[in-house]
C-alpha cells in the first residue's frame, strides 16, 4: 500500500518538474514558476498537439528561449501572449480569448448542457405521466 502511495506521489511531483529543459531557466523560483506556466499556455504551432513545454522540436526551443528572454526583460505575461498572437494568431494560445469569432466555442458546453437537460426533463416528465404498468410501446 505504501509503495503505491510513493509511486503516486512520485508521479504527481514529476508533473511539476522541468519539462524538457535540462536545467532551470531562472534561479529565482517565482520567475521559474512564471516561465513554467507560460510555456504550458503556448501551443507548439509546428506539432500542434503539444505545448512548447513538452515539444522537442527546434521551433518550440526557440519559443521557450523567447519566453525566457521576455520574462528576464521584465515583460508581463500579457506582453508575451501578445507577442505570440501577433505572430502566430490565437491558435498559439491553449486558452482562446473570448471574442466574436469564438463565442460559439465558449458557449458550446453550456448549450450542450441545456439541450441535454431539456431532453432529460422531457423524457422524465413523459414517463412520470405515463400509467404505471408495462410500456404499451415496447413489445412484450
Amino acid at each position: 500500500m505504501s509503495r503505491w502511495l510513493v509511486l503516486v506521489a512520485l508521479a504527481l511531483s514529476s508533473a511539476g518538474a522541468l519539462a524538457i529543459d535540462t536545467e532551470a531557466a531562472f534561479p529565482d523560483p517565482a520567475l521559474q514558476a512564471r516561465y513554467e506556466h507560460m510555456i504550458r499556455e503556448l501551443r507548439c504551432v509546428q506539432c500542434q498537439n503539444q505545448s512548447i513545454a513538452d515539444s522537442p522540436v527546434g521551433l518550440a526551443a526557440d519559443l521557450r528561449r523567447q519566453v525566457k528572454e521576455m520574462i528576464a526583460a521584465g515583460q508581463t505575461d500579457a506582453d508575451i501572449k501578445r507577442y505570440m498572437t501577433d505572430r502566430y494568431g490565437d491558435f498559439v494560445l491553449y486558452d482562446p480569448p473570448l471574442r466574436a469569432r469564438t463565442y460559439v466555442l465558449w458557449a458550446a458546453p453550456a448549450l450542450l448542457v441545456l439541450i441535454t437537460v431539456g431532453i432529460a426533463a422531457r423524457v422524465i416528465l413523459c414517463r412520470s405521466k405515463a400509467p404505471i404498468g408495462p410500456d404499451p410501446e415496447e413489445p412484450a
Binding site: G58, L59, D62, D86, R87, Y88, F91
Partner: protein, 181 residues
Amino acid sequence: MWRYFAPAAAFLVLGALFAFALLRIGQGKLDVHEIQSPLIGRAAPAFALPSVTDPTQLVDSRALAGKMYVLNVWGTWCGGCREEHSALLAIARTGGVPLIGIDWKDERDLAVQYLAQLGNPYQQVGSDADGRTAINWGVYGAPETFLVSATGTVLAKHIGPITEAAWQEKFVPHLKAGGGR
C-alpha cells in the same frame, strides 16, 4: 413517427458534414493544420541577416523596400523545400519578382552546397541560424512563402511546398494588381 427517424436523420446530416470536409481535405482545398497568418495586410517584419552566399554582406529588409518581393523560408534539412525547388526556379525565371530566401536554422556550408547542386533561385539569401527572424514572420514549418508589397505590406502567404497552381492562385493576382515588375 419522427422519433424513429430523427436519430437516423441526425446521423445522415453529420455523415454528410464529415464526408464534405474529408473530400475537401482529399482535394487539397482544406488543410486542418494550416494556421491563418495574422501578418496578412500588416507591415512585413524587418530583418537583417548575413548573406549565405557572401557572409560579409547583409540581406536587409530596408534595402528591399520600394519593390515587391517574394520571401521564401527554407532549409537544407527540409524535405518540402527540395520538393518545391523546381517551382521556385521557374518563378525566379518567369515570375517577374525577386525571390529572397531565408535559410532557417541551417548551416551555411550545407546551404551553399545545396544551392550549388540544385540551382539558386534567390536574388539574395539570408541565414537565420538562430531562428529569430522566422519567429517574427510567424513561421512554423518550412517551406513557407510570403509576398511583400512595394510599401512593405505582407500580401499573401503559402504554407508548404509552393506549386505552380498555388502561385497562380495566391500570388499572381497581387502581382498583376500591384505591378510586380
